[in-house]
């Protein structure tokens, strides 16, 4: 993904191999299989260019990181249960805000801030 993100234009498998050469000695078929898997996972887009596929990123690096975070956090919430919480949150993301109560608390906080505490 790093190689694909570094290049803004679509890349054939051979070009990806060329950029990976410095790091390791991966076989052409290994890279092709990996790119195919990344395409099937929705991380890459591809289209035919002659007889070969060319690949490009389906999302930016930031978008990818954001998706990883959101799916990881959603997974954490699924694993967590009433009997077995696996995380301690500052505020429950399931919070139901009661508007009247929130306004009362905000007024209380404003008073405290005015008194310097």
């Amino acid at each position: 993904m790093d190689v694909v993100w570094r290049r803004s234009s679509p890349m054939p498998v051979r070009d990806v191999c060329g950029h990976l050469k410095g790091d390791s000695t991966l076989a052409y078929t290994t890279v092709m299989t990996t790119l195919d898997r990344l395409y099937k996972k929705g991380l890459l887009e591809r289209h035919k260019d002659g007889n070969a596929f060319v690949y490009e990123a389906a999302m930016t690096r930031d978008e990818y990181r954001r998706r990883i975070v959101e799916s990881t956090v959603a997974g954490l919430m699924e694993r967590s249960s009433d009997a077995n919480p696996v995380l301690a949150a500052f505020i429950d993301v399931a919070a139901d805000a009661d508007e009247g109560n929130l306004k009362r608390l905000e007024k209380l906080i404003a008073e405290r801030k005015r008194s310097g505490r």
Binding site: R65, P85, A88, F90, V93, A94, A97
Partner: protein, 325 residues
């Protein structure tokens, strides 16, 4: 001695644990208003004691009875042959208990329940550990705090991971807070790490499996709320302004996304927010010193109970035999 000989001792353990759990949790329930006045540390330690002590004392009782029986067998003064009118709590003759369906069912059911619950807990925490590692890899360290900022449009801040607790704050939450509020949120989460809250909660969850269901669940909620209030207090001390902690809570509640998790799935339940805000603004004592005295008294009481069981092991042995047999 066959494994089935232990069924009788299993019955004593289950019975003692449940009875003590009811007793301890009812006392805690009655004392809650007084404990609230003493501070969250007192509530936290009292709640933890009410959950952990019943199975620990029950283990102590079983150990005393088993050692007594073992010594009697070794000395050749096993009393079992003198009593033919009921079953005996004995490592040698206890096997007869395994032929009692209710005793066997009780012990097997509880052992299965505890094993399944432990396995589910281990599985969930293993997953959380991996998730925390993934968030660390994707996130950016926040200065030298050991906390991580992760890109997300959802607003959250939490600590996850049992073995290496990781504090994670989303970029959306970060940008919704001012500089002091950010420090308050980080101080709150780092207090969870410093107090080992996730580990303690996991231990309490397992111990609660051996307690009386409805009462221990209520006590667990009390422990969670007091843990949050302690961390709020630590955060207020760190930023020197309790109102900053309170405004950080409200800023995140205001921006709460649609429901992601089932209620109670994480420490800070929604209904706790007003209580926590009011508590932190009141600047009430945290009660750490009285809680230490309470812990010392609790440990002494537990030792005294176990020692009494040891001193009067023979009459207790016979009473239990008569009741259960």
């Amino acid at each position: 001695m066959a494994l089935s000989s232990l069924v009788a001792f299993g019955v004593v353990f289950v019975g003692a644990s449940l009875v003590l759990s009811v007793l301890f949790n009812l006392v805690l329930l009655a004392c809650t208003p007084a404990l609230r006045r003493l501070g969250p540390w007192v509530e936290r330690r009292a709640a933890a004691s009410a959950i952990i002590l019943p199975p620990v004392i029950a283990i102590g009782l079983v150990a005393v009875l088993a050692v007594g029986s073992a010594l009697a067998i070794l000395r050749g003064s096993d009393h079992c042959l003198d009593h033919s009118h009921h079953l005996h709590l004995c490592l040698k003759h206890g096997m007869a208990w395994a032929s009692r369906p209710w005793a066997l069912c009780l012990v097997i059911s509880l052992a299965t329940f505890v094993a399944v619950r432990s396995a589910l807990s281990a599985w969930a925490h293993w997953g959380a550990q991996r998730a925390a590692a993934r968030l660390r890899a994707v996130g950016a360290p926040i200065d030298q705090t050991g906390c991580y900022l992760v890109p997300s449009q959802e607003r959250f801040a939490f600590t996850a991971g049992l073995l290496s607790p990781t504090v994670v704050v989303s970029s959306a939450a970060w940008h919704a807070l001012d500089s002091d509020e950010r420090d308050a949120v980080l101080a709150h989460e780092l207090a969870h790490v410093a107090h080992g809250d996730l580990r303690l909660r996991a231990i309490l969850g397992l111990a609660a499996a051996l307690g009386f269901p409805f009462l221990v669940n209520r006590t667990l909620r009390l422990w969670e709320l007091s843990a949050e209030r302690i961390c709020d207090r630590r955060a207020a001390l760190a930023v020197q302004r309790p109102s900053t902690v309170a405004s950080a809570m409200l800023a995140l509640v205001r921006a709460a996304p649609p429901k992601l998790a089932p209620e109670g799935a994480i420490f800070a339940a929604a209904c706790h927010v007003p209580e926590r805000v009011e508590s932190v603004l009141r600047e009430e004592p945290d009660g750490e010193r009285p809680s230490r005295r309470l812990m010392a008294a609790t440990v002494l009481a537990a030792v005294a109970v176990t020692a009494t069981c040891g001193l009067f092991s023979e009459p207790i042995h016979h009473i239990l035999e008569t009741i259960l047999g």
